[in-house]
Symmetry: C2
């Protein structure tokens, strides 16, 4: 019933052809130094000739190491995560690893089952931008039970003892809000994200910045959304308020872009009528209706750092105290805030 694929060349075949043992060939393949120069030559020649490729499944089983790392993100369509994925791949490929990317669709249950699949596939390590609600930590416990190295990215879980790479979300929220204040805005609305460290941190930063500037926090100015579609809806709610906000700070670029659409549709100009800020500096930010001011989170760097830490953890027996890397956010002022 299953499709029959042609038998690939095996170590055994090469060994037989050359009258050497399988072991010797294996050693050559892996580049071990304890093989005679001439034998090595002959083996190498035959390998090239037959275009031998080691069977990684067999190798993984025997070596108890797959050289696969798992990555779980909430949404590959969000280019912030696509960029992280790219950063991870780029960092990890040269080291011989492959990455299996899974999409949790921002759903804790889906994520949980993806983790199980990845564990069953015997990945050597895991990187996750987790969509777990803060109180549910069983996913992480299952990973720890296997004593498998993993690193958290983007969303932080302070109770979980694992390395974390991400931005300082409160700093991001503060930076964005301060920029808006500096642009002369006083009625600053916020499209807040999900109740994860990213959403909460940015919201806190927003409130802190208002506080510092002596602007009273106005509850109705905070609404929730996660992507461009819900950002659009959220902005329409905000536009009905009076006094109408003079700025909208979206928790990520998609929500901000969605908000822009709603604002322009309402016949209000950006930035003169309402200023808009996002977070993420996604690839197309400066191609949007009005080039979007945003906070750059250095997504590629996050990916690379996470990959780095993970690979080091895989390579070393003892688990060191988990490292936390906070990448510095950077303001990118564009036209949507009047620059």
């Amino acid at each position: 019933m299953a499709h029959t694929s042609n038998p690939a060349v095996r170590l055994k075949d090469i060994a037989r052809d050359l009258n050497v043992s399988v072991m010797t060939v294996s050693k050559v393949v892996r580049g071990c130094s304890d093989v005679g120069a001439e034998t090595r030559q002959r083996v190498m020649a035959r390998i090239k000739e037959l275009n031998y490729q080691p069977n990684w499944v067999a190798r993984s089983l025997a070596a108890r190491r797959t050289f696969i790392i798992g990555l779980i993100v909430p949404d590959l369509m969000h280019s912030f995560f696509a960029e992280i994925a790219k950063g991870i791949s780029a960092a990890i490929r040269p080291l011989g690893y492959d990455v299996v990317i899974c999409n949790s669709e921002e759903n804790a249950a889906v994520e949980s089952s993806e983790v199980d699949r990845l564990l069953a596939r015997q990945v050597d390590g895991l990187i996750l931008a987790s969509a777990q609600p803060p109180e549910t930590l069983s996913v992480f416990e299952r990973i720890e039970a296997r004593n498998l190295p993993f690193v958290l990215i983007d969303r932080r879980f302070s109770e979980v003892r694992a390395p974390y790479v991400g931005a300082d979300d409160e700093a991001i929220g503060r930076m964005a809000t301060e920029h808006l204040i500096a642009c002369g805005c006083r009625r600053i609305a916020h499209i807040a994200g999900p109740k994860l460290t990213t959403g909460i941190g940015r919201l806190n930063g927003y409130r802190a910045a208002l506080d510092t500037a002596g602007i009273a926090f106005h509850e109705p100015y905070v609404v929730h959304a996660t992507d461009d579609a819900s950002g659009y809806d959220a902005a329409r709610l905000l536009l009905r308020l009076s006094p109408r906000p003079d700025a909208i700070f979206g928790y990520n670029d998609p929500t901000a872009a969605g908000a822009m659409k709603a604002i322009l549709e309402a016949g209000i100009a950006i930035p003169s009528g309402i200023k808009v800020m996002g977070v993420g500096n996604v690839h197309y930010s400066d191609l949007l209706r009005v080039p979007l001011s945003t906070i750059d989170q250095r997504s590629t760097a996050i990916g690379q750092q996470a990959a780095d830490i993970l690979v080091k953890a895989i390579g070393s027996k003892r688990k060191r105290p988990p490292r936390t890397v906070i990448v510095e956010p950077a303001l990118v002022a564009r036209e949507s805030t009047g620059h």
Copy 2:
């Protein structure tokens, strides 16, 4: 040196605990029907209790089947491909497959080595949006040599005997150009893509439409680009021509978006000064500076269809004549062409 992960529960452990053979447990795990009801209960209970997860590496080696399919795309950051990837994942997951996604960076050599990696990993099948130049077919030969099912998407290679799922690129080029002509444009420029079926097909469609409309083909109106950055550059060249084009048709949405940026920067209005069209209907198309008219390629459908065909091919021994699925493009008229 390698990180020591905890020994996971094995079939053997369960068998020992329950005084049954490994085989029996294996059968229960796989849902075979030839197991006594009571035995099955006991085994299931213990499985749940210990949270047993089959080791897929061992399973793959023994069953000669990994339930992994490989996907190669030129660029995950291009949301057209991200969407395809998502469509494939969604279609294939419920069937028990995982997808390993590789980025070829639009580079034939990278792609070639990715294919080898995937083969070494013993994937059950391959889906590729290939970046091979039309004359280099050795990658496909290597896959065929292993007798591994694969399906081509987006970019077509007529010499390769494999299923193909994609759009009718000539129809796309014609549709876009006809739309522009219908909008009253006569000096229609084209930012053509790479010399693959997508780029060539759309270019041909463009020329065919001009022909039909009795508009002379004007060589300088065709320039080349692949993404937003090069599309921007390409458009700047076009803007220097005289007579200046009154429309620009980009071979994909990113090039069109880049072109829009250049046009607006030059102080020319869209659509009144120059009309713009893209292809792909990427997610953010209607959030761009001027909402972008485009041709929808139904990327998710492409992914699902391809997944479908591949899975069927994996499941059946004999190779049937390769199926070709052409998904119908659809015009999405937005503001950039005056609608």
